[in-house]
């Protein structure tokens, strides 16, 4: 670890801290339908959209109606993306590489993935998706799924803040305002900033260039015998990248335009673009803490939640940075030792799978940020991290994607854990738990626990089946032993957490993985959203009791400490046995000189 590395991590957090408050207050104004400086431009567009779609912007929805609208919208957009993927070869638009139709299992997996804000990719984008599919099928979902998550978080906040109300707002209005006022303006500015750094934005066919140094490659021929060829040219993929890159980060979607994701020089050209991308990932989730404080009338509560998230973020990045700063003990020889242990020309540590442009500190920071939030963009390969370094992204997702978390989903996931925390605090002092003056009763706790339990159930269930099935489960692995187990565990965890990052090393483009990972994403998104909405709907109907001496304060350090404790107990301990079989065991064996090919 270096002072320079820590300075960069501290600089990132300082910028986030500066941006959170204005962002949060702006979003509160947007969702409360108060005046903003963008109204003259966006107001007429909003009214036109409502007129065309027949939405009554002033009608309010019960939680069941809000949930049903969200499900109908998600189902329709999932099927639209599936259709675009299946028909891309037949649509004479923006397919200069003449890419074929996407295979049905893969098309469904991808449609489920982008609908659920997961953006898990079982495919190589530049070899599979036409420009039309990237723009109309995938980038649109980046906006819709992000706006849906934000809408649901706002609905939950309304559930806390409203007094004896049967409604939570209007899903269509929240979806529209989140897209128009929050996502689009920031994406336009960010896309231009990325273009200024070297990100591409075009509809050209792929370029073919002559290599400065021709490469000799030996590969098996048709008859299985090795054939040596000299490669003299390289194909350089093109496309409308910058516009998709901005929402990929801001919407915590994470699906790369190219297979190398944010390690590709077109997706993430410079250290500045790297910093911008990380800030975009955390911007809305951090801002929503302030939105929470403003809308419930307790700014201190918003900051207390922000503090809990920050503590967990820092623990993750410190652990990951420390683990990746260690040289791999199995690498022997003078040359490797010099390169791995830090020298004038080397950043030191484990550089395998990392971009030299970013080094260890910015790779560890990016990996932590992208898995704290349910983003899933990567600028380094998590599979190549040291065992404990790779455990950090995995554990971040296992905690439920609430360390800032996905746009919206991080906030409502955290609020469910706040309910559990308040309940436990109530049990400790023997009083009926109250959250900001609202009584937390059996119904809310039952549904909160349903939300908490669905997550490990789907992850551990599918992981168990996969590791026991050599024909369709473990046959996809590139490594055996605990590392292979981690590859499977990570895939289901990433899918259920709607993160989408891959540990890599697992060939997930099989019927089994495409189908089960698709189901896992849908369950991890929608079957968790619904109990959350039910809790919000129930809380909205309740009276707000005046504060008394027995009220548990939710805006101080004690609350933050208790919340962090509950998150660690609920999230980390649920998965500790699985982590023991994966990265922890691999770490211990690595120290004993054992690795797994």
């Amino acid at each position: 670890m270096t002072a320079n590395g820590w300075l960069q991590i501290a600089f990132f957090f300082a910028l986030l801290l500066l941006a959170a408050k204005p962002m949060g207050l702006y979003m509160a104004r947007v969702y409360e339908r108060k005046k903003t400086w963008l109204d003259p431009v966006l107001g007429p567009i909003e009214r036109l959209l409502y007129r065309v779609t027949g939405v009554d912007a002033d009608s309010e929805m019960k939680w069941t109606e809000y949930g049903a609208a969200m499900l109908i919208f998600s189902c329709a957009t999932l099927l639209l993306t599936y259709a675009i993927e299946r028909l891309q070869h037949a649509i004479p638009l923006w397919n200069p590489q003449h890419l074929a139709a996407v295979e049905p299992y893969l098309a469904w997996n991808t449609a489920a993935s982008f609908t659920t804000n997961t953006n898990w990719q079982s495919y190589v984008p530049e070899q599979t998706m036409s420009y039309l599919t990237q723009m109309a099928g995938l980038a649109t979902h980046n906006f819709w799924s992000a706006a849906t998550g934000m809408a649901l978080a706002i609905a939950f906040i309304r559930g806390i803040s409203q007094r004896e109300s049967k409604t939570l707002g209007n899903f269509w209005v929240d979806l529209t305002r989140g897209t128009l006022w929050v996502l689009l303006p920031i994406c336009i500015v960010s896309a231009l900033a990325l273009v200024s750094q070297g990100a591409i934005q075009n509809l050209k066919p792929y370029d073919t260039v002559t290599l400065v140094e021709p490469q000799t490659v030996t590969a098996p021929g048709a008859d299985g015998k090795p054939v040596t060829t000299t490669v003299t040219t390289q194909t350089i993929a093109q496309g409308p990248l910058a516009s998709q890159e901005a929402i990929k980060e801001l919407g915590t979607n994470g699906g790369g335009f190219f297979n190398a994701n944010s390690a590709h020089p077109f997706e993430n050209p410079t250290p500045f673009s790297n910093l911008l991308e990380m800030l975009l990932i955390f911007l809305i989730p951090a801002g929503l803490c302030i939105t929470l404080g403003r809308m419930v009338g307790s700014p201190g509560h918003g900051w207390a939640v922000f503090a809990a998230m920050s503590v967990l973020w820092f623990a993750g990045v410190a652990t990951c940075y420390w683990a990746e700063s260690q040289p791999n003990p199995l690498l022997h020889g003078v040359n490797q030792r010099v390169a791995m242990s830090g020298a004038a020309q080397s950043s030191g540590g484990n550089m395998e799978g990392k971009e030299v442009r970013f080094g260890v500190a910015n790779s560890a920071l990016f990996a932590t940020v992208t898995t704290d939030a349910s983003c899933g963009a990567v600028n380094s390969m998590h599979d190549s991290f040291m065992p404990l370094g790779g455990m950090v992204p995995l554990a971040n997702i296992m905690m439920g994607e609430i360390i800032f978390g996905g746009v919206g989903s991080g906030m409502y996931g955290m609020l469910i854990l706040v309910i559990v925390t308040v309940f436990i605090a109530g049990l400790m002092v023997g009083r009926t738990p109250e959250y900001l003056g609202k009584k937390v009763q059996a119904y809310e706790v039952q549904l909160s626990m349903l939300y908490v339990l669905i997550f490990p159930l789907v992850i551990l269930g599918f992981t168990a089946v996969s590791v026991l099935a050599p024909s369709f489960g473990t046959s996809s692995l590139s490594n055996h032993g605990p590392h292979g187990f981690t590859q499977i565990l990570y895939a289901y965890t990433s899918s259920a957490g709607n993160n989408g990052s891959a540990f890599a090393g697992l060939n997930a483009n099989t019927h089994w993985y495409n189908a089960t990972l698709g189901i896992t994403m849908l369950v991890g998104r929608f079957l968790m959203m619904i109990p959350m909405l039910a809790v919000a709907g129930s809380l909205a109907t309740k009276k707000i009791a005046p504060e008394s001496l027995g009220t548990f304060p939710v805006n101080n350090t004690l609350f933050t400490v208790l919340l962090v404790g509950v998150i660690l107990i609920v999230g980390a301990l649920t998965f500790f046995p699985a982590l023991s079989l994966g990265p922890i065991l691999e770490h211990l064996l690595l120290r004993s000189g054992i690795s797994f090919a």
Binding site: L71, W108, Y443, Q446, L447, F526
Partner: protein
């Protein structure tokens, strides 16, 4: 054929999700809330 299967699977999932909404709502009756 696969397209029909995936179309049906998608509808089936969202249909179950809608039932789940009403399942969560009906739980309130037995929750013992005042």
């Amino acid at each position: 054929m696969s397209d029909i299967v995936f179309l049906a699977a998608s509808f089936a999932f969202f249909f179950v999700a809608v039932l789940y909404v009403y399942g969560c709502q009906s739980l309130k009756g037995g929750g013992g809330n005042a």
